[in-house]
Amino acid sequence: MGILEVKDVGKRFGGLKALSDVNLSVAENTCHAIIGPNGAGKSTLLNCLVGKLIPDTGSVMFDGQSVLGRSPHEINQMGISRVFQTPEIFGDLTVMENMMIPLFARRDGSYRLHAIESVASEKDLTQQAEQMLDEVNMLDKRHMHSASMSRGDKRRLEMAMCLIQRPKLLLLDEPTAGMARADTNNTIDLLKQIKEERDITIAIIEHDMHVVFSLADRITVLAQGTPLVEDTPENIKGHPKVKEAYLGEAA
Protein backbone atom coordinates (compact mmCIF):
# COMPACT_ATOMS: atom_id res chain seq x y z
CA MET A 1 0.00 0.00 0.00
CA GLY A 2 1.59 3.28 -1.07
CA ILE A 3 1.21 6.55 0.72
CA LEU A 4 -0.65 7.87 -2.31
CA GLU A 5 -3.19 5.67 -4.03
CA VAL A 6 -4.93 6.88 -7.15
CA LYS A 7 -7.68 4.56 -8.34
CA ASP A 8 -9.57 4.73 -11.61
CA VAL A 9 -9.45 8.50 -11.76
CA GLY A 10 -11.11 10.13 -14.72
CA LYS A 11 -11.64 13.77 -15.61
CA ARG A 12 -13.35 15.34 -18.58
CA PHE A 13 -13.32 18.90 -19.82
CA GLY A 14 -16.41 19.20 -21.92
CA GLY A 15 -15.88 16.73 -24.73
CA LEU A 16 -12.23 16.20 -23.90
CA LYS A 17 -11.18 13.22 -21.82
CA ALA A 18 -8.21 14.67 -20.01
CA LEU A 19 -7.80 11.68 -17.68
CA SER A 20 -9.27 8.23 -17.80
CA ASP A 21 -8.67 5.15 -15.69
CA VAL A 22 -5.60 6.49 -14.05
CA ASN A 23 -4.21 4.14 -11.44
CA LEU A 24 -1.15 5.08 -9.57
CA SER A 25 0.45 3.97 -6.38
CA VAL A 26 3.35 5.88 -4.90
CA ALA A 27 5.32 4.13 -2.21
CA GLU A 28 6.37 6.01 0.87
CA ASN A 29 9.72 7.71 0.77
CA THR A 30 10.29 7.25 -2.92
CA CYS A 31 10.44 9.60 -5.82
CA HIS A 32 7.89 8.94 -8.48
CA ALA A 33 8.16 10.73 -11.79
CA ILE A 34 5.29 11.31 -14.18
CA ILE A 35 6.30 12.01 -17.72
CA GLY A 36 4.45 12.17 -20.96
CA PRO A 37 3.75 14.32 -23.97
CA ASN A 38 2.33 17.79 -23.65
CA GLY A 39 -1.32 17.75 -22.88
CA ALA A 40 -1.16 14.19 -21.60
CA GLY A 41 -2.92 15.18 -18.42
CA LYS A 42 -0.02 15.33 -15.99
CA SER A 43 -0.86 18.68 -14.49
CA THR A 44 -4.51 17.75 -14.48
CA LEU A 45 -3.68 14.71 -12.41
CA LEU A 46 -1.76 16.84 -9.95
CA ASN A 47 -4.66 19.24 -9.78
CA CYS A 48 -6.89 16.37 -8.81
CA LEU A 49 -4.56 15.47 -5.98
CA VAL A 50 -4.47 18.89 -4.35
CA GLY A 51 -8.13 19.77 -4.65
CA LYS A 52 -7.82 22.27 -7.47
CA LEU A 53 -9.93 19.95 -9.59
CA ILE A 54 -12.37 17.29 -8.51
CA PRO A 55 -12.12 14.11 -10.57
CA ASP A 56 -15.31 12.87 -12.19
CA THR A 57 -14.65 9.28 -11.24
CA GLY A 58 -12.31 7.29 -9.07
CA SER A 59 -10.70 7.86 -5.73
CA VAL A 60 -7.56 9.45 -4.38
CA MET A 61 -6.27 8.24 -1.04
CA PHE A 62 -3.44 9.85 0.81
CA ASP A 63 -2.06 8.28 3.95
CA GLY A 64 -5.18 6.15 4.19
CA GLN A 65 -7.59 9.04 3.88
CA SER A 66 -9.50 10.26 0.90
CA VAL A 67 -8.55 13.73 -0.34
CA LEU A 68 -11.64 14.11 -2.46
CA GLY A 69 -14.12 16.67 -1.29
CA ARG A 70 -11.56 18.52 0.77
CA SER A 71 -10.55 22.06 0.03
CA PRO A 72 -6.98 22.86 -0.98
CA HIS A 73 -5.94 24.14 2.41
CA GLU A 74 -7.24 21.04 4.12
CA ILE A 75 -5.35 18.84 1.73
CA ASN A 76 -2.24 20.81 2.39
CA GLN A 77 -2.77 20.29 6.09
CA MET A 78 -2.81 16.54 5.46
CA GLY A 79 0.77 16.91 4.36
CA ILE A 80 0.74 17.58 0.61
CA SER A 81 2.63 20.57 -0.74
CA ARG A 82 2.79 21.59 -4.32
CA VAL A 83 5.08 23.59 -6.58
CA PHE A 84 3.28 25.01 -9.60
CA GLN A 85 4.18 25.06 -13.25
CA THR A 86 4.18 28.88 -13.22
CA PRO A 87 5.51 30.06 -9.87
CA GLU A 88 2.88 31.00 -7.30
CA ILE A 89 4.52 33.16 -4.69
CA PHE A 90 3.51 36.20 -2.66
CA GLY A 91 4.82 38.77 -5.10
CA ASP A 92 4.21 41.75 -2.85
CA LEU A 93 6.20 40.29 -0.01
CA THR A 94 9.94 39.96 0.46
CA VAL A 95 11.63 36.61 0.12
CA MET A 96 11.92 36.26 3.86
CA GLU A 97 8.26 37.09 4.39
CA ASN A 98 7.36 34.53 1.77
CA MET A 99 9.15 31.97 3.88
CA MET A 100 7.42 33.03 7.08
CA ILE A 101 3.88 32.50 5.83
CA PRO A 102 4.15 28.71 5.56
CA LEU A 103 5.70 28.69 9.00
CA PHE A 104 2.68 30.49 10.40
CA ALA A 105 0.40 27.92 8.88
CA ARG A 106 -0.61 25.30 11.35
CA ARG A 107 -0.67 21.71 10.36
CA ASP A 108 -3.65 21.03 12.58
CA GLY A 109 -5.66 23.70 10.80
CA SER A 110 -6.08 25.87 13.85
CA TYR A 111 -5.85 29.60 13.38
CA ARG A 112 -3.22 31.88 14.69
CA LEU A 113 -4.68 35.31 14.94
CA HIS A 114 -1.60 36.73 16.57
CA ALA A 115 -2.40 40.28 15.85
CA ILE A 116 -0.39 41.94 18.55
CA GLU A 117 3.03 40.40 18.90
CA SER A 118 5.49 41.28 16.21
CA VAL A 119 6.92 39.09 13.52
CA ALA A 120 10.39 39.92 14.69
CA SER A 121 9.73 38.22 18.00
CA GLU A 122 9.28 34.84 16.28
CA LYS A 123 12.97 34.11 16.63
CA ASP A 124 13.05 30.41 15.94
CA LEU A 125 10.74 30.63 12.96
CA THR A 126 12.98 33.28 11.50
CA GLN A 127 15.92 31.04 12.04
CA GLN A 128 14.25 28.11 10.34
CA ALA A 129 13.42 30.27 7.36
CA GLU A 130 16.94 31.53 7.03
CA GLN A 131 18.31 28.07 7.22
CA MET A 132 16.01 26.89 4.46
CA LEU A 133 16.92 29.85 2.28
CA ASP A 134 20.53 29.02 2.80
CA GLU A 135 19.89 25.50 1.61
CA VAL A 136 18.46 26.76 -1.68
CA ASN A 137 21.23 29.31 -2.03
CA MET A 138 18.98 32.31 -1.64
CA LEU A 139 19.98 33.70 1.69
CA ASP A 140 21.57 36.74 0.11
CA LYS A 141 18.25 37.61 -1.53
CA ARG A 142 16.17 37.43 1.62
CA HIS A 143 15.24 41.11 1.64
CA MET A 144 14.39 41.22 -2.03
CA HIS A 145 10.89 42.03 -3.24
CA SER A 146 9.97 38.65 -4.57
CA ALA A 147 8.06 39.84 -7.66
CA SER A 148 11.16 41.47 -9.10
CA MET A 149 13.26 38.32 -9.10
CA SER A 150 14.09 36.42 -12.23
CA ARG A 151 11.92 33.43 -12.85
CA GLY A 152 14.49 30.85 -11.92
CA ASP A 153 14.74 32.45 -8.52
CA LYS A 154 10.99 32.48 -8.10
CA ARG A 155 10.98 28.76 -8.76
CA ARG A 156 13.53 28.12 -6.09
CA LEU A 157 11.71 30.29 -3.64
CA GLU A 158 8.50 28.43 -4.22
CA MET A 159 10.22 25.15 -3.68
CA ALA A 160 11.77 26.40 -0.47
CA MET A 161 8.34 27.53 0.71
CA CYS A 162 7.00 24.05 0.16
CA LEU A 163 9.95 22.29 1.72
CA ILE A 164 9.88 24.33 4.87
CA GLN A 165 6.44 22.95 5.55
CA ARG A 166 8.06 19.51 5.87
CA PRO A 167 5.35 17.89 3.77
CA LYS A 168 4.92 14.14 3.62
CA LEU A 169 4.26 14.36 -0.07
CA LEU A 170 5.85 16.97 -2.26
CA LEU A 171 4.36 17.51 -5.69
CA LEU A 172 6.58 19.20 -8.21
CA ASP A 173 5.30 20.39 -11.58
CA GLU A 174 8.34 20.94 -13.77
CA PRO A 175 10.42 22.43 -10.97
CA THR A 176 13.52 23.00 -13.03
CA ALA A 177 11.95 24.40 -16.18
CA GLY A 178 13.79 27.55 -17.05
CA MET A 179 16.47 26.97 -14.47
CA ALA A 180 20.08 27.30 -15.39
CA ARG A 181 21.93 24.03 -15.61
CA ALA A 182 23.94 24.76 -12.49
CA ASP A 183 20.84 25.46 -10.47
CA THR A 184 19.14 22.44 -11.90
CA ASN A 185 21.97 20.35 -10.59
CA ASN A 186 21.73 22.06 -7.23
CA THR A 187 18.05 21.34 -7.14
CA ILE A 188 18.63 17.70 -7.90
CA ASP A 189 21.13 17.52 -5.09
CA LEU A 190 18.85 19.33 -2.74
CA LEU A 191 15.94 17.03 -3.46
CA LYS A 192 18.10 13.95 -3.11
CA GLN A 193 19.43 15.16 0.18
CA ILE A 194 16.02 16.02 1.51
CA LYS A 195 14.66 12.71 0.47
CA GLU A 196 17.36 11.02 2.43
CA GLU A 197 17.16 13.19 5.49
CA ARG A 198 13.44 13.38 5.86
CA ASP A 199 10.52 11.07 5.49
CA ILE A 200 9.37 12.58 2.26
CA THR A 201 7.70 11.24 -0.81
CA ILE A 202 8.09 13.13 -4.03
CA ALA A 203 5.99 13.09 -7.14
CA ILE A 204 7.56 15.01 -9.93
CA ILE A 205 6.53 16.04 -13.43
CA GLU A 206 9.46 16.90 -15.63
CA HIS A 207 10.39 17.14 -19.26
CA ASP A 208 14.09 17.33 -18.44
CA MET A 209 15.17 13.72 -18.63
CA HIS A 210 18.39 14.43 -16.84
CA VAL A 211 16.40 15.43 -13.79
CA VAL A 212 13.98 12.55 -14.12
CA PHE A 213 16.62 9.91 -14.39
CA SER A 214 18.70 11.35 -11.58
CA LEU A 215 15.86 11.47 -9.11
CA ALA A 216 13.14 9.00 -9.92
CA ASP A 217 12.78 5.61 -8.34
CA ARG A 218 9.84 4.80 -10.54
CA ILE A 219 8.37 6.46 -13.60
CA THR A 220 4.85 6.53 -14.95
CA VAL A 221 4.41 7.52 -18.54
CA LEU A 222 1.10 9.18 -19.17
CA ALA A 223 -0.26 9.53 -22.67
CA GLN A 224 -3.65 10.90 -23.67
CA GLY A 225 -4.90 10.72 -20.14
CA THR A 226 -4.02 7.11 -19.36
CA PRO A 227 -0.86 5.53 -17.99
CA LEU A 228 1.07 3.94 -20.79
CA VAL A 229 3.65 2.13 -18.69
CA GLU A 230 4.98 2.26 -15.21
CA ASP A 231 8.47 1.03 -14.53
CA THR A 232 11.95 1.75 -13.28
CA PRO A 233 13.97 4.45 -15.02
CA GLU A 234 16.24 1.95 -16.71
CA ASN A 235 13.39 0.09 -18.32
CA ILE A 236 11.64 3.26 -19.38
CA LYS A 237 14.73 4.55 -21.11
CA GLY A 238 14.74 1.59 -23.38
CA HIS A 239 10.99 1.30 -23.88
CA PRO A 240 10.37 1.65 -27.59
CA LYS A 241 6.86 3.07 -27.32
CA VAL A 242 7.98 5.71 -24.89
CA LYS A 243 10.88 6.55 -27.05
CA GLU A 244 8.69 7.11 -30.03
CA ALA A 245 5.86 9.00 -28.40
CA TYR A 246 7.82 11.07 -26.05
CA LEU A 247 11.55 10.95 -25.73
CA GLY A 248 12.59 11.36 -29.32
CA GLU A 249 16.30 11.93 -29.72
CA ALA A 250 16.80 12.70 -26.05
CA ALA A 251 16.87 9.06 -25.10
Binding site: N38, G39, A40, R151, Y246, A250
Partner: protein, 251 residues
Amino acid sequence: MNVRPDFSKHANHAETAPAFLSVWDMHSYYGESYIVQGISFNVHEGEILALLGRNGAGKTTTLRSIARLDNPQVMKGEIWLDHQPLHTMRSHQAAVAGLGLVPEDRRIIPGLTVEENLQLAQIAPPIGWSLDRLYELFPRLGERRRQEGVTLSGGEQQMLAIARALARDIKVLLLDEPYEGLAPVIVDEIEKTLRHIKEQGMTTIIVEQNAVRALQLADRAVILDTGSIVYDGSAAEVLENESLRAEYLAI
Protein backbone atom coordinates in the same frame (compact mmCIF):
# COMPACT_ATOMS: atom_id res chain seq x y z
CA MET B 1 18.27 58.16 -40.75
CA ASN B 2 20.57 55.59 -42.18
CA VAL B 3 23.48 56.45 -40.01
CA ARG B 4 24.90 53.24 -38.66
CA PRO B 5 26.59 53.16 -35.31
CA ASP B 6 30.23 52.40 -35.46
CA PHE B 7 30.99 48.92 -34.22
CA SER B 8 34.62 48.84 -35.09
CA LYS B 9 35.69 48.84 -31.50
CA HIS B 10 34.00 45.51 -30.98
CA ALA B 11 36.47 42.89 -31.87
CA ASN B 12 33.89 40.26 -32.51
CA HIS B 13 32.20 42.11 -35.31
CA ALA B 14 34.84 41.29 -37.75
CA GLU B 15 32.46 39.85 -40.28
CA THR B 16 31.89 42.10 -43.19
CA ALA B 17 28.24 41.36 -43.77
CA PRO B 18 26.11 44.29 -42.63
CA ALA B 19 24.24 43.64 -39.41
CA PHE B 20 20.51 43.12 -39.76
CA LEU B 21 19.71 43.76 -36.14
CA SER B 22 22.17 45.71 -34.11
CA VAL B 23 22.13 46.67 -30.49
CA TRP B 24 24.54 49.34 -29.48
CA ASP B 25 25.50 50.39 -25.98
CA MET B 26 22.12 49.56 -24.51
CA HIS B 27 21.43 50.35 -20.85
CA SER B 28 18.18 49.18 -19.30
CA TYR B 29 16.59 49.81 -15.95
CA TYR B 30 13.70 48.39 -13.99
CA GLY B 31 12.82 51.48 -12.03
CA GLU B 32 15.97 52.18 -10.10
CA SER B 33 17.68 48.87 -10.68
CA TYR B 34 20.23 48.96 -13.41
CA ILE B 35 20.07 45.64 -15.20
CA VAL B 36 21.50 45.71 -18.70
CA GLN B 37 24.68 47.67 -18.49
CA GLY B 38 25.71 48.83 -21.88
CA ILE B 39 25.69 45.86 -24.20
CA SER B 40 26.32 45.85 -27.94
CA PHE B 41 25.95 43.04 -30.43
CA ASN B 42 24.92 42.37 -34.00
CA VAL B 43 22.81 39.77 -35.66
CA HIS B 44 23.08 39.15 -39.35
CA GLU B 45 20.27 38.37 -41.67
CA GLY B 46 19.28 34.73 -41.59
CA GLU B 47 21.39 34.01 -38.56
CA ILE B 48 20.44 32.28 -35.32
CA LEU B 49 21.98 33.85 -32.28
CA ALA B 50 21.95 32.08 -28.91
CA LEU B 51 21.76 34.47 -25.97
CA LEU B 52 22.92 32.60 -22.89
CA GLY B 53 23.62 33.22 -19.24
CA ARG B 54 22.64 32.26 -15.74
CA ASN B 55 19.33 33.01 -14.08
CA GLY B 56 19.05 36.70 -13.59
CA ALA B 57 21.84 37.52 -16.00
CA GLY B 58 19.59 39.85 -17.94
CA LYS B 59 18.61 37.82 -20.96
CA THR B 60 14.91 38.44 -20.67
CA THR B 61 15.61 42.06 -19.95
CA THR B 62 17.62 42.31 -23.15
CA LEU B 63 14.88 40.79 -25.26
CA ARG B 64 12.24 42.97 -23.67
CA SER B 65 14.36 46.02 -24.30
CA ILE B 66 14.72 45.16 -27.95
CA ALA B 67 10.99 44.54 -28.24
CA ARG B 68 10.48 48.04 -26.80
CA LEU B 69 8.21 47.06 -23.98
CA ASP B 70 7.48 49.76 -21.43
CA ASN B 71 9.37 47.95 -18.71
CA PRO B 72 12.42 47.88 -18.58
CA GLN B 73 13.23 51.36 -19.66
CA VAL B 74 16.09 51.74 -22.08
CA MET B 75 17.86 54.82 -20.79
CA LYS B 76 20.60 54.89 -23.33
CA GLY B 77 21.55 53.07 -26.50
CA GLU B 78 20.43 52.38 -30.01
CA ILE B 79 18.70 49.44 -31.61
CA TRP B 80 18.47 49.16 -35.37
CA LEU B 81 16.47 46.65 -37.32
CA ASP B 82 16.96 46.62 -41.03
CA HIS B 83 17.68 50.34 -41.19
CA GLN B 84 14.85 51.21 -38.86
CA PRO B 85 15.63 52.80 -35.50
CA LEU B 86 13.75 50.58 -33.06
CA HIS B 87 14.88 52.65 -30.11
CA THR B 88 12.56 55.46 -31.16
CA MET B 89 9.57 53.18 -31.32
CA ARG B 90 7.02 51.77 -28.94
CA SER B 91 6.35 48.07 -28.84
CA HIS B 92 3.49 48.03 -31.31
CA GLN B 93 5.55 50.01 -33.79
CA ALA B 94 8.49 47.69 -33.34
CA ALA B 95 6.15 44.80 -34.01
CA VAL B 96 4.98 46.41 -37.22
CA ALA B 97 8.60 47.04 -38.13
CA GLY B 98 9.12 43.28 -38.10
CA LEU B 99 9.91 42.19 -34.60
CA GLY B 100 8.34 39.13 -33.03
CA LEU B 101 8.81 38.11 -29.41
CA VAL B 102 7.82 34.85 -27.77
CA PRO B 103 7.78 36.00 -24.16
CA GLU B 104 9.10 33.87 -21.36
CA ASP B 105 5.88 33.14 -19.52
CA ARG B 106 4.03 32.70 -22.82
CA ARG B 107 1.52 35.39 -22.11
CA ILE B 108 -1.49 33.69 -23.56
CA ILE B 109 -4.33 36.17 -23.36
CA PRO B 110 -6.97 35.17 -20.86
CA GLY B 111 -10.55 35.16 -22.02
CA LEU B 112 -9.62 34.43 -25.63
CA THR B 113 -9.78 31.07 -27.34
CA VAL B 114 -6.79 29.56 -29.07
CA GLU B 115 -8.04 30.74 -32.40
CA GLU B 116 -8.76 34.24 -31.15
CA ASN B 117 -5.28 34.43 -29.73
CA LEU B 118 -3.99 33.73 -33.21
CA GLN B 119 -6.46 36.03 -34.93
CA LEU B 120 -5.37 38.79 -32.65
CA ALA B 121 -1.89 38.51 -34.08
CA GLN B 122 -3.26 39.06 -37.56
CA ILE B 123 -5.14 42.27 -36.96
CA ALA B 124 -2.29 44.65 -37.53
CA PRO B 125 -0.45 44.08 -40.79
CA PRO B 126 1.89 42.63 -41.95
CA ILE B 127 0.40 39.19 -41.71
CA GLY B 128 2.51 36.07 -41.76
CA TRP B 129 1.61 32.40 -41.77
CA SER B 130 -2.01 31.49 -42.27
CA LEU B 131 -3.89 29.79 -39.48
CA ASP B 132 -4.09 26.62 -41.51
CA ARG B 133 -0.38 26.51 -41.91
CA LEU B 134 0.10 27.08 -38.20
CA TYR B 135 -2.30 24.29 -37.34
CA GLU B 136 -0.36 22.09 -39.64
CA LEU B 137 2.79 22.86 -37.73
CA PHE B 138 1.07 22.34 -34.37
CA PRO B 139 -1.84 19.94 -34.93
CA ARG B 140 -2.50 20.02 -31.22
CA LEU B 141 -3.56 23.65 -31.50
CA GLY B 142 -5.91 22.83 -34.34
CA GLU B 143 -7.63 20.28 -32.16
CA ARG B 144 -7.98 22.77 -29.35
CA ARG B 145 -8.86 25.84 -31.35
CA ARG B 146 -12.09 26.60 -29.49
CA GLN B 147 -10.62 26.08 -26.04
CA GLU B 148 -9.73 29.08 -23.92
CA GLY B 149 -6.04 29.66 -24.42
CA VAL B 150 -5.05 29.77 -20.78
CA THR B 151 -6.54 26.36 -20.03
CA LEU B 152 -4.14 24.70 -22.41
CA SER B 153 -1.46 22.51 -20.92
CA GLY B 154 1.88 24.20 -20.32
CA GLY B 155 3.42 22.80 -23.45
CA GLU B 156 0.41 23.59 -25.60
CA GLN B 157 0.61 27.16 -24.43
CA GLN B 158 4.20 27.30 -25.49
CA MET B 159 3.20 26.11 -28.94
CA LEU B 160 0.54 28.75 -29.10
CA ALA B 161 3.00 31.45 -28.16
CA ILE B 162 5.35 30.43 -30.92
CA ALA B 163 2.55 30.09 -33.43
CA ARG B 164 1.33 33.54 -32.50
CA ALA B 165 4.68 35.04 -33.36
CA LEU B 166 4.76 33.27 -36.68
CA ALA B 167 1.26 34.44 -37.51
CA ARG B 168 2.80 37.82 -38.15
CA ASP B 169 5.16 38.61 -40.97
CA ILE B 170 8.28 39.21 -38.96
CA LYS B 171 11.88 39.75 -39.80
CA VAL B 172 13.39 38.90 -36.45
CA LEU B 173 12.12 36.29 -34.04
CA LEU B 174 13.04 36.66 -30.39
CA LEU B 175 12.50 33.46 -28.44
CA ASP B 176 12.64 33.53 -24.66
CA GLU B 177 13.11 29.95 -23.52
CA PRO B 178 10.94 28.38 -26.19
CA TYR B 179 11.67 24.80 -25.13
CA GLU B 180 10.58 25.25 -21.58
CA GLY B 181 7.98 22.74 -20.60
CA LEU B 182 7.97 20.95 -23.89
CA ALA B 183 8.28 17.24 -24.32
CA PRO B 184 11.54 16.20 -25.94
CA VAL B 185 9.80 15.11 -29.15
CA ILE B 186 8.17 18.48 -29.50
CA VAL B 187 11.46 20.21 -28.88
CA ASP B 188 12.86 18.23 -31.76
CA GLU B 189 9.89 19.31 -33.81
CA ILE B 190 10.33 22.99 -33.01
CA GLU B 191 14.02 22.85 -33.61
CA LYS B 192 13.27 21.53 -37.06
CA THR B 193 10.86 24.37 -37.64
CA LEU B 194 13.40 26.93 -36.57
CA ARG B 195 15.93 25.49 -38.96
CA HIS B 196 13.30 25.53 -41.65
CA ILE B 197 12.36 29.15 -41.24
CA LYS B 198 15.98 30.07 -40.97
CA GLU B 199 16.43 28.62 -44.40
CA GLN B 200 13.68 30.90 -45.58
CA GLY B 201 15.67 33.83 -44.25
CA MET B 202 14.39 34.37 -40.74
CA THR B 203 16.72 35.96 -38.26
CA THR B 204 16.41 34.57 -34.76
CA ILE B 205 17.64 35.24 -31.26
CA ILE B 206 17.08 32.38 -28.89
CA VAL B 207 17.42 32.50 -25.14
CA GLU B 208 17.59 29.04 -23.67
CA GLN B 209 18.69 27.34 -20.50
CA ASN B 210 19.29 24.15 -22.38
CA ALA B 211 22.51 25.68 -23.61
CA VAL B 212 23.78 22.68 -25.45
CA ARG B 213 20.67 22.42 -27.56
CA ALA B 214 20.68 26.10 -28.26
CA LEU B 215 24.32 26.11 -29.22
CA GLN B 216 23.82 23.20 -31.57
CA LEU B 217 21.16 25.17 -33.33
CA ALA B 218 22.78 28.58 -33.29
CA ASP B 219 25.41 30.09 -35.54
CA ARG B 220 26.69 32.46 -32.97
CA ALA B 221 26.42 32.89 -29.23
CA VAL B 222 26.39 35.84 -26.90
CA ILE B 223 26.86 35.16 -23.22
CA LEU B 224 25.62 37.61 -20.63
CA ASP B 225 26.69 37.90 -17.05
CA THR B 226 25.17 40.42 -14.64
CA GLY B 227 24.07 42.60 -17.46
CA SER B 228 27.26 42.69 -19.51
CA ILE B 229 28.47 40.69 -22.46
CA VAL B 230 31.23 38.31 -21.52
CA TYR B 231 31.40 36.37 -24.73
CA ASP B 232 30.44 37.09 -28.30
CA GLY B 233 31.52 34.63 -30.90
CA SER B 234 30.78 31.43 -32.71
CA ALA B 235 28.45 28.94 -31.12
CA ALA B 236 30.55 25.98 -32.06
CA GLU B 237 33.47 27.39 -30.18
CA VAL B 238 31.54 27.49 -26.94
CA LEU B 239 30.41 23.96 -27.45
CA GLU B 240 33.95 22.81 -27.92
CA ASN B 241 35.65 24.99 -25.36
CA GLU B 242 35.25 23.32 -21.97
CA SER B 243 36.59 26.23 -19.97
CA LEU B 244 34.31 28.76 -21.59
CA ARG B 245 31.33 26.58 -20.80
CA ALA B 246 32.44 25.96 -17.29
CA GLU B 247 33.12 29.59 -16.64
CA TYR B 248 29.95 31.17 -17.95
CA LEU B 249 27.41 28.41 -18.24
CA ALA B 250 28.50 26.04 -15.50
CA ILE B 251 28.19 23.04 -17.79
